[in-house]
């Protein structure tokens, strides 16, 4: 991971002092709630249903064991002994006290962490592929570019009060594991042979989820890397000046891109960029090398080739290890190594929640098995990116003892869910009990593996923190005359290619949702061409009608006892 130098540290320390002073003035009645709100939000502090919620930045999802121990300490000292990993690769504390937040920030700063710009109408945490730096299909190590963007976006003076929040995702591999078409800006590394330089970025704008889900538009196929900051600055300036501010539901850049049309928007950005290009913010090789050199790299041992097959044969009498290996162990570019996902989706535990004791145990495991480093995934799991394959059986036993070896990565029970109505002030409906009820219904592992790859995502409201739009099956909590209902979509996909799911029909009561999922799965198993055809591919091939029919009966005679659809 990137190690701060003195300047990086000073900036974070000065932020703690600034926020301490702002909090003091607020508590003394000298800074009104209206004036304080945007300031505290830009420090990740929400006022929630039960208590404030503090969102800690985990820039592009990397975390050291030392940092994780500090998060455990904070969870114990300032919270109720746990934290929640979010779909934005951040960590949320649900029970801190407002007056303690400056102290929490000071603790974070002592391990090179902060909560800067984790909320508010500003540039948020940059996210990326959780297999960056180790993936076999890597084009470039996206972490370096994320850090360059992190520094550029931190306290950017021009873009602190945008029309709305702004999310940038970077993908550095062939496969898009960063959902770049579903962000305000998506950056996709591209190598172009014969070009000088040969490294650049495909620029995608105007994607997003939320109330109005949209797939982003490519406005430039190849931007040479040194222009990255000036180009992104041109996009932000056009958005800051012209994005809508009259209606918060129309204030994201995706609406501006849609209203102007992608071509006209691109022309405006290009015209602005013509004025900025080759200016002082043009990146230099020296800066890229400097940032690269501050990343601590694993010192791999030369392992020759992958020992994975002989290992699995040796303990092949334990099929659950094989299942785990199949689902939770991922290929690595370094021979003899693998990346391992720790599932935070054990049935009965809210998705993404981790206790202080688990955090400390995980930190110890990271030290012993993976160079003291972890990644947080947008699916709310953790990844040990650099595990020796001959250590996998031992690691598996330890993870199993901690309840972190559920072999469900990529499967239906690896549910993404926001904290929902149990915690969040914005939510229309609960998410966690719905996730748990589905997990309980699908607790047969053989059946789960037979169903194959399936992303099931649950959001408690249209803000779509649970990414329901891109779930192969998406569940959205809606409010109808004060009652909690759930709208179901199918066919969403987070990348390659990205797609927004379609609503199958009228919404359901909470207790009906697992039954609906079961009917959808039944229809899929009857319709798939082979075991290789995933649920989402099957939906795209045959359309949503057969699935609607499986749930509602014949499409021309809908069940009469259902509530009408919620728009």
């Amino acid at each position: 991971m990137y190690l701060y130098d003195d300047i990086d540290q000073r900036i974070v320390d000065e932020r703690v002092a600034q926020f301490r002073e702002q909090t003091r003035r607020h508590l003394a009645g000298k800074l009104s709630e209206d004036d304080f709100r945007p300031l505290r939000l830009q420090n990740g502090l929400y006022l929630q249903r039960h208590a404030p919620m503090l969102r800690v930045a985990i820039p592009y999802g990397i975390l050291s064991s030392r940092q994780l121990r500090m998060l455990a300490h904070i969870a114990r000292q300032f919270d109720r002994g746990y934290g929640h990993f979010s779909t934005r690769q951040n960590l949320q504390f649900n029970w801190p006290k407002l007056e303690a937040v400056p102290d929490i920030l000071e603790h974070l700063a002592s391990v090179q962490m902060h909560a800067i710009q984790t909320s508010g109408n500003c540039i948020r945490n940059i996210t990326t592929d959780h297999f960056a730096g180790v993936a076999r299909d890597e084009i470039v190590d996206s972490f370096v570019w994320c850090e360059i963007l992190r520094q550029w976006s931190t306290f950017h003076p021009e873009f602190a009060f945008l029309p709305r929040k702004f999310k940038i995702a970077v993908n550095g591999a062939e496969a898009d594991r960063a959902a770049t078409f579903l962000h305000d800006i998506g950056l996709h590394a591209v190598r172009k042979s014969g070009s000088d330089p040969d490294l650049g970025f495909r620029i995608i704008v105007g994607g997003g989820m939320g109330r109005t889900p949209m797939i982003g538009h490519v406005i430039r196929e190849f931007l040479p890397w040194q222009h990255l900051l000036t180009y992104v600055e041109a996009i932000l300036r056009v958005y800051n000046r012209h994005g809508r501010r009259d209606n918060k539901y129309k204030a994201r850049i995706k609406i501006l891109v849609k209203e102007r049309g992608p071509e006209r928007f691109r022309d405006e950005v290009e015209a602005e960029w013509e004025q900025l290009r080759d200016g002082a913010s043009t990146l230099t090789k020296a800066e890229v090398r400097r940032v690269e050199s501050r990343f601590v790299r694993p010192k791999y041992e030369q392992m020759g080739s992958d020992p994975i097959i002989s290992q699995s044969e040796k303990i092949g009498s334990v099929p659950i290890f094989l299942n785990w290996q199949k689902r939770n162990v991922h290929p690595h570019k370094q021979p003899g190594y693998a990346a391992v996902t720790l599932s935070l989706k054990k049935t009965g535990v809210p998705p993404g929640d981790v206790t202080d004791a688990q955090m400390e145990a995980i930190a110890n495991i990271a030290d012993r098995y993976s160079f003291g480093e972890l990644r947080v995934t947008h699916e709310q799991n953790l990844v040990l990116a650099d595990v020796r394959q001959d250590h996998l059986p031992a690691l598996w036993r330890e993870l199993r003892a901690l309840g972190l070896a559920t072999p469900n990565i990529g499967l239906l029970t690896n549910i993404i869910a926001c904290p929902g109505g149990d915690f969040c002030a914005l939510a229309n409906a609960k998410s966690i009990p719905v996730a748990e009820a589905i997990q309980r219904l699908f607790d047969d592992l053989d059946y789960l593996h037979d169903i194959g790859e399936l992303d099931l995502n649950i959001s408690g409201c249209i803000n779509s923190c649970g990414h329901h739009h891109v779930g192969h099956i998406g569940v959205l909590g809606v409010d109808k005359q004060g009652a909690e209902f759930y709208q179901v979509t199918i066919g969403g996909n987070q990348g390659n290619p990205a797609a927004v799911g379609r609503v199958i029909g009228p919404a359901f009561a909470q207790h009906e949702v697992p039954w609906v999922v079961e009917r959808l799965i039944g229809a899929y198993l009857r319709s798939r061409e082979s075991e290789d055809e995933r649920f989402v591919d099957c939906v795209h091939r045959i359309g949503i009608e057969p699935f609607k029919e499986a749930v509602y009966g014949h499409a021309d005679s809908p069940r009469q006892d259902r509530e009408p659809a919620v728009a």
Partner: protein, 130 residues
């Protein structure tokens, strides 16, 4: 009574000045007044609400694209906690909102001792000075 901070000093009440004042609202295009900048005694950029950040882009455009060097004054909902960003975007005068403590507000200019980006105040980004 609102207090003016100008070039690091408090003026209360603000001293009157002769000359043409150009006032820009958030939706205004600085390019449209570029030809008048030479004759202006000062340019005011209005912030109807401090959360409306368009004035920051306007300031940078006035300074960096249109070469305006005279007084650039932030007016409207201007508060202490925005002064650091405003200064970096090229403002050098701030008409603080009624009731704000201008003496205490002066410390906001030194909230941070360093910044990563290029700005009007410091045209070279940190990475070119590191």
């Amino acid at each position: 009574m609102a207090t003016l901070i100008r070039r690091g000093r408090i003026e209360n009440p603000p001293s009157p000045e002769p000359g043409e004042v150009l006032r820009l609202e958030p939706a205004d295009d600085p390019a449209a007044v570029a030809h008048r900048l030479g004759g202006a005694a000062r340019v005011e950029v209005n912030f109807p609400s401090f959360t409306d950040g368009r004035g920051y882009s306007i300031a940078r455009l006035l300074r960096e694209r249109h070469g305006y060097r005279g007084e650039l004054r932030a007016v409207g909902d201007v508060q202490r906690d925005q002064l650091f960003y405003l200064a970096r975007c090229g403002f050098d005068a701030y008409l603080l909102r009624d009731g704000d403590d201008a003496g205490a507000a002066l410390s906001a200019f030194s909230d941070f001792s360093e910044a990563y980006q290029a700005s009007v105040e410091r045209p070279q980004p940190l990475f070119r000075r590191r």
